[in-house]
Symmetry: D2
Subunit: 363 residues, 4 copies
Amino acid sequence: MAGNSFGDLFRITTFGESHGKAIGVIVDGCPSNIEIDEAFIQSELDKRKPGQSKITTQRKESDTAQILSGVFEGKSTGTPISIVIPNEDQRSKDYSHIADKYRPSHADYTYQMKYGIRDYRGGGRSSARETAARVAAGAIAKLFLKQQGIEIFAHVSGVGQIEAPNVDSSDLNLLLETRESNIVRCADPAAANEMIDFIDNIRKNGDTVGGRISTIIRGVPAGLGEPVFDRLHAELGKAMLSINAVHGFEYGSGFEGSRMRGSEHNDVFTTENDKVVTKTNFSGGIQGGISNGMDITFKVAFKAVATIMRDQETLNQAGEETTISGKGRHDPCVVPRAVIIVEAMAALVIADQLLKQRAYTHI
Amino acid sequence: MAGNSFGDLFRITTFGESHGKAIGVIVDGCPSNIEIDEAFIQSELDKRKPGQSKITTQRKESDTAQILSGVFEGKSTGTPISIVIPNEDQRSKDYSHIADKYRPSHADYTYQMKYGIRDYRGGGRSSARETAARVAAGAIAKLFLKQQGIEIFAHVSGVGQIEAPNVDSSDLNLLLETRESNIVRCADPAAANEMIDFIDNIRKNGDTVGGRISTIIRGVPAGLGEPVFDRLHAELGKAMLSINAVHGFEYGSGFEGSRMRGSEHNDVFTTENDKVVTKTNFSGGIQGGISNGMDITFKVAFKAVATIMRDQETLNQAGEETTISGKGRHDPCVVPRAVIIVEAMAALVIADQLLKQRAYTHI
Amino acid sequence: MAGNSFGDLFRITTFGESHGKAIGVIVDGCPSNIEIDEAFIQSELDKRKPGQSKITTQRKESDTAQILSGVFEGKSTGTPISIVIPNEDQRSKDYSHIADKYRPSHADYTYQMKYGIRDYRGGGRSSARETAARVAAGAIAKLFLKQQGIEIFAHVSGVGQIEAPNVDSSDLNLLLETRESNIVRCADPAAANEMIDFIDNIRKNGDTVGGRISTIIRGVPAGLGEPVFDRLHAELGKAMLSINAVHGFEYGSGFEGSRMRGSEHNDVFTTENDKVVTKTNFSGGIQGGISNGMDITFKVAFKAVATIMRDQETLNQAGEETTISGKGRHDPCVVPRAVIIVEAMAALVIADQLLKQRAYTHI
Amino acid sequence: MAGNSFGDLFRITTFGESHGKAIGVIVDGCPSNIEIDEAFIQSELDKRKPGQSKITTQRKESDTAQILSGVFEGKSTGTPISIVIPNEDQRSKDYSHIADKYRPSHADYTYQMKYGIRDYRGGGRSSARETAARVAAGAIAKLFLKQQGIEIFAHVSGVGQIEAPNVDSSDLNLLLETRESNIVRCADPAAANEMIDFIDNIRKNGDTVGGRISTIIRGVPAGLGEPVFDRLHAELGKAMLSINAVHGFEYGSGFEGSRMRGSEHNDVFTTENDKVVTKTNFSGGIQGGISNGMDITFKVAFKAVATIMRDQETLNQAGEETTISGKGRHDPCVVPRAVIIVEAMAALVIADQLLKQRAYTHI
């Protein structure tokens, strides 16, 4: 209820501030007997960690996950899996200048209004550092989904005004390879180069820029999602909108679909190898809030990072006008690192719905 | 968990199928001593009901709400308020032709896969008729919010390729008057006319079209929203994505914001009449998932209605190819009636968050 | 959260006041394809309804259940099953004398303090009339459990100082027959007669008395219950303590077990027809909060009905001393009618845990 | 849902196995600006820790709590407070003999049935060691309640057949002093001596015994508790029944009250210093599930510890008959250490209800 948990049956609760002792997560409801591959969890965290390339923050954190419970002889036991990630590179003094100032488009003002107190160091709890805990939990969800034959693939499909063309999604492993071959994590090499140059230029100007991430979930059986309020796409939407800096979510045909006619938009049923499929997939794999077995597709919009290396006007806690300048080490664009967060949240949604399906669905 | 409830502290649970005896809702957690104005609840239902104009379905339902509990001498008592809306105009035979066919882009197939049984009459539970129950509950939430000085205004800002220009939102009552003066519920009269003509034309062609609804919530104090997973915009997003036919949600600057730079996008704090405000509002009134006291703004995309008055290919339950033709009476475009559903869901989110704020927020 | 719902996956929400238009319940999460036998639901309600015998209240209510949704062609569809029970015999004027007085050991004072308003007619929401809705929902849970081979049997094992001897529980159907052959619902005929005479005498004296109900649940597979907070007996305990007038709950050896030594109390494992069993069952079928396959046993204590046909001192809303006398038609002892409520709540707990087992348990 | 969380608004989630790296807890929903006195948290843990006296287990654990998040400059920030307690004295080899045997009246068999895997070392997750995390969380709840003027006092009121007489509860601080002056934690010195001798004797015989704990909560305002399912005593009951070894719960008059008549049992309202009070308190401070401002009183029954230092028959995982003998270091009676667990769970219930009262109660 206080908002630090996600999911019902496969449920995570995260904790920790950017410059506290540690951040972490409890995964409650992971089925027993899942092989918990710690190297995989770490490799996921490595994709999100800071300091990866010239277009991410230069802050250094090893983001080493320590599992404290819930795993016995390499397997989940059905009890809570708790993971702690110690904070290392805390230059808290970088933040003393904001102790009593409200950074524009940050959460300083709203946290102060809500709680009457805030840990201002690095944004405290409002820092995107919290999402490392989600990535660790998402890795566990992915290990469960893998066992069920479900794949999740996200990549950067837009940065600023740059849009990547649609990619051939017939082989998700191949796409993943292409994505990981460039530092912006776009599965189209040409667009990737354009994006990297653009972000690097933005960074040199002390500015930041937003972007978009597109996702495909493959292998989800028909029947996931609980109408009427907990539709599968509503759960995915909430999950994505809970990620720092996200301002928009659309699935299937999305906003563009709202400009189409029914006769164009309807997905006609047919069979393929004795399996029911639709000829088009404007529905994004979800009809009436329930998966239909087709690829689930959605797109997420991230605003520009609020911390810019320029002077900005603002107010202090006394309500007086003042000026603030960006310090510390920040990302010029979050989407390259956010790709893995989007995948993690998607994995958590699907894992939760799979358990609900086990409970509810007709056998 | 089975998905028919929404909200935590101000919580609703809806029930009912399109062609069953009745639909309805239980509102649990409405504070006591709120004046429950039954005429207002009915007037809200009247804005959603079918048969309002030439551009809505010609089906007739009076949608008369009956309060069964929770109100004593005109006031809420703090106990569950249950509302029943009997179904009247059930031409179930209109649906016998779909008993064993899957209508394209409807929920027939997915419900059958999930439950192994479905009430096919009028789409059963997957029918948008369920949203009448939400409107009744939303009316109660609005009565609570009104007491707290909070206003909600939604209107149709786009139909197909038509986009309404931005409207002057300084007086929401005036906007509401303009909106209610036309049958498409757009607050810009010129765009409204264009939309009406377009929808009427679409209808005559036996086709349907999608559209967009924009919303402003005014008067929300700073401090609503529970980070990190239950951010205010994540709750609003889930609420909107739970409405039938919605394919996209964005708040504040939305998808367009993801194309901007930080230096353009940041909302600078200043004071106005001793109140903290931001000079721009790309944040849409929400920062770090918590309201900052500015107008909360968001936009919702609806796909075209799936039922078209044309022959379409599809499969039957046996998996054989067959043809289906639209029958019954359907909307050519849902947004004129959906405006009130969007407002209702927004009211439910804000009411729930207000109660959380009472519990948690620093005093 | 406002307390009118019970269960997570198999979840009910009740509504209604004693003298309002109706009471009722929504059952959300009932699996699809369960045969919904309406005659059975009514027969369960008939066992709880007032006016059954000389030792129950003489108030008359037919308690006729109307199913409004969630059932299609006699089967559950997986969507919410809503049931309404209209109120008929509302002599509200019987209650005008308590509009501004607090009846001793009733909820008048606490509801007034909590809500600042109360529907005083017949106790409003605090009336045990609400439990009729639970019985209707419990009947649906029983239909699901029957399909799973699970039986629930409760009977009156104590009234005032009278204790029934332990009954032979080898055949629960036989016990049920004996129980239903007497108006106090005790499975021991001799004790039943003693109880009936005692209650009848109490009634003639304008007084009331408490009692105890013992329950056996048979056929529950090993593995139900979620440690550590949601232990199976903790869920059963909460369910029972939520019934009006209940002051105590114990399972297995109960309070008496706290007087025993470990060497006496331990249940030794052995096999019987290749099935793991325990030689004794002081654990009441639950170990570490999880069912072990043995009979689940528990006992519930009900206090005496608060409304007595005698003058009592009390306060009015102004805080002045005054006198109140019992009016209306009340039970001298609730346990004969409460037997079916205990069974209903037990069925709801087990149904909910069965769905959790489906989701979580090792296969 | 997987059972490792307790509370709705003031919510805790515990993790950890008896012989894993650590146990711990996340407290989510603690209001901001509460002074978090770490020395107090540690002093509470010290009252629960093993090795305190000759009548507790001789196992040594320092049970040192480390706060990882949620506290800034000594105060709660409204964000999740996470606490880790490393495990130190893990003689896991003490448990190798039970790796494939089911200890009688332990959770070995049921965990194996439920999860298909179990961490057998020290009982893994089913060990009462988990309650140390509850005590740490309960200490935080107590710091919040203290600020609200609410006191909680529990003591051992029975061991085996020994019953302590009723104690004068006019000064809870005085009672606490007396309780802490003896190693069995009974507030009646004479009964305490009798209990200590008895337990010591039991221990020398390699046996164990059960006991009872009585609790008083003072200073709770009228209005806490959410009817109808989440009555205050139902929440307390569930909380207590979730503690290892608890077999019974009663509040106010309890089981004895079910033997009384209404004319004896009713609590008559009157005023005392302009405050509404009841002349007797058979209701245990709760009427209709809502607190009435009087002392809240309840009693909890604990069965004898299952591990005895004697040979017992049992089965191994292959289903073969075998013998098991107690090893390791165990408590002969849990109640002296459980007193602080009962207080912790009571504090968590009241803290949660206080936040609900803030949200819902009439002002």
